[in-house]
Amino acid sequence: MKAIQFTNKTAQKIYADYISRIKRTTATLNKTDREEILMELNSHIYEGMMHKTPSSEIESLVDVTEQLGAPEEILKPLIAQKKLEQATRSFNPKHIFKALVLNISSSVVYVFFALLYLTLFGFVFAIIEKIKNPEYVGLFFKNGNFHLLGTRNPANSEELGLTEVLGNWFIPVMILCIIVLYMVITLLLRLKRKK
């Protein structure tokens, strides 16, 4: 981006401050999007300055930026949009988390998605427990039907007629569940966005 040159030092400072606020606000986006937004707002400021009736540089600049609005405010919906596009494209949990936080205010539906992602932690918790108490944790069947995924005291397992069916496969299966669920939820999120 080519910076605008001001003759007045204070105007230059106000301008530099505004630009750095745009940069800070857009920091979570990818480079192309950041550049695009910066160049467009910079162009807006430049054209605004050119179209103002001649007064002092500071006055025109303050006018233009005030009418444009605070970068943090005006860019909020734009960043939420871009972030969600990026998140559902990349499957990166960091982007997904940020996109959800940014979009929560715009829709309750995203709260529902946040909850779905949270359920994944249930599986993570099961893996941790399995490592700590291998004898207690597992996928238990009773009379050939699913009974429980979680913790049971091995002492009275037999009494209750419970059999653990996964054995050493417990952790790999849990990891697989996490991956599959994660993909399904993210694909649902992508569908929701396309609607």
Partner: protein, 111 residues
């Protein structure tokens, strides 16, 4: 009169029609951001918060209603021009039909 209610209602209507207004202004013309805002202000007397136009244009682009292109300037600071796509033109016609129908209905009931 409930001034507060009218005020809120007006801002909702403006927000809801800004896309329609921007597409109308872009019909048969291409404008860069600042110019587009000036045109909207001049033609509609709507005082829009200027910054809100850019997220809107991003949405219209995503929906394939407009495209944009950077055009280099002598100043070294390029302008980003927005143009209606064929889909945008068709969509605008649909929106206009709806708008006219709505206008008719409102005239009918507000006698």
């Amino acid at each position: 009169m409930n001034v507060d209610f009218v005020h809120k209602w007006k801002s909702q209507v403006k927000k809801g029609t800004l896309a329609f207004i921007a597409l109308n202004v872009l019909k048969d013309h291409e404008y860069y951001g600042y110019e587009l805002i000036e045109q909207i202000k001049k033609n509609t007397q709507i005082e829009i918060a200027e910054g809100t136009l850019y997220p809107l244009m991003n949405r219209l682009k995503k929906e394939n209603l407009v495209t944009s292109k950077w055009v280099e300037q002598a100043s070294g600071i390029p302008r980003k021009y927005y143009v209606l796509t064929p889909t945008g033109e068709e969509t605008l016609l649909q929106m206009r039909t709806f708008w006219l129908d709505l206008e008719k209905s409102i005239k009918k009931i507000s006698k």
